[in-house]
Amino acid sequence: MDVDAERAPRKNRLVGLIEGVGTPVLEAGQAVAGIFAMGVSVVRWTFRPPFRLQNVLAQFDFVGVGSILLVALTGTFSGMVFATQSWSAFELFGAESLVGPTVALTITRELAPVFSALMVTMRACSAMCTELGTMRVTEQIDALETMAVNPVQYLLVPRVLAGLAMGPMLTMIFDTAGIWGGFFVAVGLRGLSTGTFLLRTQNFLAPADIWEGLTKGAVFGFTVTLIACYRGFNASGGAKGVGRATTRAMVDAALAIFIEDYLLGLAFHG
């Protein structure tokens, strides 16, 4: 009796542990599969008429133009922070002239695409997910379908295209703002000469570095908008469900950015 009584809860705990680990893993797997399937569907519908240019431009405006100021500000301060920190390190062995290239390389390759995508996620994707989720739970998406308008084509294609196109654009803005931020700190505040900053930066920064960042920007932009669309499109359970979908979208998108960043880093630099 005693032995049984002790064994039973332990077994349950084991089952509980497996379930506790297994369920989220299973859910994550399902989500990845679902997002992938939705991506395929979005690409397929992109190339089918009718092409709703107006909707696409509206999303470009919302995702891209609407994020310019935020991205420019984040970029400037990132560049300034980075220049300040690297200055105090390089100062120790008199290599202050390397602050320019250090800032430029870090910004173009990594910080610009990652931070721009995070800003887009925060600003645009959250709104996107909430909007689509609300449309789902209030049957507006069903209404589209009954009116013989494909909701993937009408709602998702413009949003994901906006992510894909505006990702690199915002990355470029971040690049510019970041390098200017670094320039301001190194040259304006610390007294490095303009020539040294520019020349050194030019020596180290290759077009390939910029391309790397822009590619990442496109991939991240595509992914985060797709994730927001997926979560919103599949929301259920009223206002609470929409909130849950948005939280998930934000978490998934942020995680996806960092995972993809690592994988793309491997792809670019082996």
Partner: protein
């Protein structure tokens, strides 16, 4: 060709549908004649909405046929279904108006998507449809600024914009007060008279159903167990229906 109004517009034959282990529809048979209003009556969870989604092709059955205007829509693919869906207008429970668009844009939506009408012609059509549902001076308002009954009316105006042959109503009177309920009932009757459309109404509201229906079909445990004119159904001996009616009148009285 013959003036005989007995043509069948919607015919559902031996329809089965399960979600996982849950059998929702167990061999549903239903016929709706052209130009009539059929109310599918049933309690919550009886599978009414599932049945309606099959009629418009949003769900595929496990077995059975759905024949709309002479064409079995079950084997059709997405693109062919879009063509069939243009025969339908649907009025949703919560109206499901696009809340980012004005009333005008909502009603004009299908016209812009599926016709080559000029903006001028679209404006005339929108006016006409809003007129049919008895609305004026709301074109520039947003759905959020309208009352529940008005939203339902805009929903109908949007549904009939492309002059569909069939209008589906999903729980049109659920959650409305008695006066608005009357208003919506009257709207359904007017739409039938003025447009000659075939209507299918999903409802659990008996009083309202009996007011608008030519035929009532009672969906019970996944099957249509009683089907006929309202007066006939009132005297039905089916235990499920008797219970349903008794519950309703007990509550109503």
């Amino acid at each position: 060709m013959s003036p005989e109004p007995k043509r069948v517009m919607i015919s559902v034959r031996d329809l089965w549908k399960a979600f996982g282990n849950h059998q929702v529809l167990i061999g549903v048979d239903l016929e709706v004649e052209e130009g009539t209003t059929c109310v599918i009556l049933g309690s919550s969870g009886s599978g009414k909405t599932v049945l309606m989604k099959h009629i418009i092709g949003l769900l595929k059955p496990d077995r059975g046929q759905v024949i709309v205007d002479g064409e079995d829509i079950v084997p059709l693919d997405e693109q062919e279904l879009e063509r069939v869906r243009r025969k339908f207008g649907m009025v949703f429970q919560g109206a499901a108006l696009f809340d980012s668009m004005t009333v005008y844009e909502n009603v004009a939506f299908a016209l812009r998507e599926h016709s080559n009408l000029s903006e001028e012609q679209i404006r005339a059509k929108v006016r006409e449809k809003l007129g049919i549902v008895g609305l004026r001076d709301v074109e520039e308002k947003y759905p959020a600024d309208l009352s529940g009954g008005m939203r339902k009316r805009v929903g109908l105006a949007r549904a009939i914009a492309l002059e569909p042959k069939i209008v589906l109503y999903d729980e049109p009177t659920t959650g409305l007060d008695p006066i608005t309920t009357d208003y919506v009932d009257e709207m359904i009757v007017t739409a039938k008279k003025e447009l000659g459309v075939t209507s299918v109404v999903i409802s659990h509201d008996i009083a309202s159903s009996f007011k608008v229906a030519d035929q009532v079909a009672f969906l019970y445990e996944g099957k249509i167990v009683a089907h006929g004119p309202p007066a006939e159904l009132r005297n039905s001996q089916h235990p499920g229906l008797k219970h349903f009616l008794a519950m309703w009148f007990a509550k109503g009285a």
